[in-house]
């Protein structure tokens, strides 16, 4: 763990943020995850580094509440939910969280218009895709279609702040987002980016996305869909050579109360083999996964 912390600290940029790889431009996704990772160390955390990361996030919030990806791409981005999850760990950010929640609640995945539906009905067979386009979650890019991963992050962020900003609209958006995720579930459980079938042929789930979706749906642990997907996740974790998959999977299993020591050993082994290819995001997630309670993503 010391080596992980050191690599994360060494990867911190002068501006206080983290990029996808050491030396790359700081971005909201990696900075949020690194702040969460350092915070997960509790009293052992390097406070100054955590604070510099937190300051980067606070400096980069846009006036209307959202976050951009980085300094090059200044438009509102899907990373807003991750910044909220990070900020939620620190008291005294109520105003920032409120504007962020308000912005996030205004975002909804776009549904096809009448012309697109008409064209689609004639141009594509009825089995082209198997999803309900009317269920609105969250998109990667504002005003485009809903997908599983951004919807999952949004649900986690909104559920964490639910008690602070509870409204009827919030409850409705959470419910709609959950329905959207369940609608996109693959046969046999689990999720990929958000499409379970194309032209009648089943597409396969991904372990990382499955874990993130299950974390977003953690308040429905006993449901059949969740349990089926949990089984699928464990199968995929056994079959997938990937630090990212193991880390997200372990965080998810921990939240679902599953014993994770064997997976933590797998993560360590994988880290020794590949160093996770130096990817800051995976390093941060592995630090979070190594902490027993995974509180960063609990709702």
């Amino acid at each position: 763990m010391d080596d992980l912390v050191e690599r994360i600290l060494n990867g911190q940029n002068q501006d206080g943020g983290w990029g996808f790889l050491p030396g790359k431009s700081s971005n909201t996704e990696c900075t949020s995850l690194c702040v969460l990772a350092l915070d997960s160390l509790g009293t052992k955390q390097p406070v100054a580094s955590t604070k510099r990361g937190l300051d980067w996030l606070l400096r980069h919030q846009r006036a209307e509440g959202s976050w951009p990806l980085n300094d090059s791409s200044v438009d509102a981005s899907w990373t807003t939910a991750l910044a909220m999850i990070a900020l939620n760990r620190f008291p005294g950010q109520q105003l920032q969280m409120k504007t962020a929640s308000d912005w996030l609640l205004k975002q909804e995945g776009r549904t096809p218009g009448i012309l697109a539906r008409l064209i689609g009905a004639f141009m594509t067979p009825s089995n082209a895709v198997a999803l309900n386009p009317d269920l609105k979650g969250w998109a990667w890019v504002p005003r485009t279609f809903s997908w599983v991963e951004p919807t999952s992050y949004a649900l986690i962020a909104l559920k964490q702040t639910r008690t602070a900003v509870g409204t009827k609209i919030l409850a409705e958006r959470i419910q709609q987002g959950e329905l959207m995720i369940y609608d996109r579930m693959c046969n046999g459980g689990g999720w990929n980016y958000g499409n379970s079938k194309v032209f009648g042929e089943a597409l396969w789930p991904y372990p990382d996305v499955t874990a993130v979706a299950l974390i977003a749906l953690q308040d429905h642990q006993a449901s059949q869909a969740n349990q089926e997907s949990l089984t699928a996740l464990r199968r995929m974790m056994r079959e997938t050579d990937s630090g990212l998959a193991l880390c997200w999977g372990t965080i998810c299993l921990s939240i679902y109360g599953v014993e994770t020591s064997q997976w933590k050993r797998q993560i360590e082994k994988r880290y020794q083999d590949t160093g996770f290819l130096g990817e800051i995001k995976t390093l941060a997630l592995s630090l979070i996964a190594s902490v027993d309670d995974a509180k960063a993503f609990r709702v």
Binding site: N70, S72, S77, P125, W140, F145, N192, F199, D208, A245
Partner: protein, 330 residues
Amino acid sequence: MISRRSFLKYSTLASVIPFVDGCSESQKWRAEAYRKQRSSQVAIVQALRYDLSLREIITKGVRLCGLEVKGKTIVLKPNLVEFDPGGVINTNPLVIEAAIDCFRTLGARQVLVAEGPGHRRDNEYLLAASGIYAVIKEHRVAYVDLNTDDIRPTRLLSSFTKLEQLYLPETLYNADLIVSMPKLKTHHWAGVTLSLKNMFGVVPGSVYGWPKNILHWKGIHNSILDINSSLPVRQFAIVDGIVGMEGNGPLQGEAKESGVLIFGKDLVAVDATAARLMKIEPKKIKYLAQAGEFLGNVNHEKIEQIGENLDRLQKDFQVIEEFQDLKTLT
């Protein structure tokens, strides 16, 4: 009652209307985007199996095209979309390995492998499962995840999507040449996916998501045109057609042994030739037909086939029902 086929024609027109905005077709690209030459050369080289000496075959194709690489920084851009142990989705790692070897031998200053997979974020998994990780490790080649590279806003030189700009990876700005290395495949939305469509992978997922959905919203054909018209680096193509994919591509189609590698500097001409090799009419592929107006040559008579004879190597690639019309060669 309007037939399904007629509706398809009209709806294709309808999908174009919102992008026209009163401009004529010729106003959809800026003068700087025009790079169509009077004629183009495309080399088809037979390569029956992956266990042959692909380095020699690729070197032959590169030389036939007169590509100069000495002292250049070259980005190899394979097609790494997904992984299916029983499938043939991705550019075969042996072709990538041979290209690394070839360009180094020909004196390239640096060779990189770069891709931005469109569905999966898990780079580590995709690289390991596809066999590409072993290649880059053995040859000590840098791999750049284009999904998470540093980015630069890039003004689009054509306006098919009406996006005005796209963020593109810095790696493209720092290279002298990008080599698009697609798999020879049919595609259930675009008809075919070849060297032009392969450039979807340069668009960063960190901005546009997984899938890069904004490109689909703006139309696959339109996006292919705008990306390719605006790349800040010179291009070359090597199509892996040793084993291609037919039917429900790009992920769930069937393997199709074709035994060729296709090379060229004009990506439009390469793709038109690759389509003809699949017995698919390139001028019926919307983006190829439009690319033929300004990016390169699509007409058979404007493409000089060098290397093997196209007619002799043609294979009948099956397409999904909606694209049967593409199979009528003109």
